[in-house]
């Protein structure tokens, strides 16, 4: 599974992308965030403010309780600030 990080998540982690095979117990977007937070101290810092982090499954914006299903790409990022 490809994990993408954007904006300050990417800066705090130090790179833009992880490829991981999460354990079977990780079934939702929120559980995946929890799992990623445990990967390294940098990940823990990046995921500390969980309320400020949004996610997309295969490029579709989704709420945290969404099941991962067969998603191939999961992205984590702060709220959008375009325009």
């Amino acid at each position: 599974m490809k994990i993408l990080y954007f904006a300050w998540l990417r800066e705090r982690i130090g790179y833009a992308e992880d490829t991981i095979d999460p354990p079977a117990s990780v079934t939702t977007v929120a559980a995946l965030a929890e799992f990623l937070a445990g990967l390294s101290p940098a990940h823990a810092r990046a995921f500390a403010d969980r309320g400020m982090i949004k996610a997309a499954l295969d490029q579709q914006f989704v709420p945290p309780e969404t099941p991962l299903g067969n998603a191939r790409e999961v992205a984590f990022f702060p709220p959008f600030t375009g325009g």
Binding site: F6, Q59, F77, F80, G82
Partner: protein, 152 residues
């Protein structure tokens, strides 16, 4: 056909608006520009990051919504990415219709939704070397909310 462009390159607002004129009675456009200061501090640049693929999809969906909700003949969104210095153009949202009402409202809708619903992130780079990611503003979410149809 609505067009969406995400690119580092600058655009020519006059030429882009002129391209929407054929057959229209009204063309409306909004151009966003990088300001020279933020929170009283002098800005060296804004850096715009995006999610390639998802951004284009989100903009196309927004343009499609505008085409369905208003009587539009055409619609265009150009959003720049990368490092943009004060005075640089960031975004163009433009629409063409038979009459001004549809064009003006649809343009306002597009620019309000661009702020909250497309995967772009702005970082402010100040002249003292300090950088800060822009936090979403409540006012932007309130502006977006006025286009949401109320429930049953």
């Amino acid at each position: 056909m609505p067009r969406v462009i995400v690119a580092a390159a600058d655009f020519d607002p006059g030429a882009e608006l002129a391209r929407l004129e054929a057959g229209a009675g009204a063309v409306s456009g909004f151009v966003g520009i990088v300001r020279g200061e933020s929170q009283g501090r002098t800005l060296a640049a804004l850096t715009l990051e995006h999610y390639p693929g998802m951004t284009e999809q989100a903009l196309a969906a927004m343009a499609g919504t505008a085409m369905t909700r208003w009587r539009l003949l055409d619609c265009l969104i150009i959003h720049r990415i990368g490092r943009l210095e004060p005075g640089a153009r960031i975004v163009l949202a433009a629409t063409a219709s038979a009459h001004r009402g549809d064009a003006l409202e649809a343009t306002a809708f597009l620019i309000d939704w661009l702020k909250t619903d497309a995967p772009f992130w702005k970082r402010e780079d100040f002249i003292d070397g300090h950088s800060e990611w822009v936090a979403p503003r409540d006012a932007d979410h309130a502006a977006r909310a006025r286009w949401v149809l109320s429930g049953p």
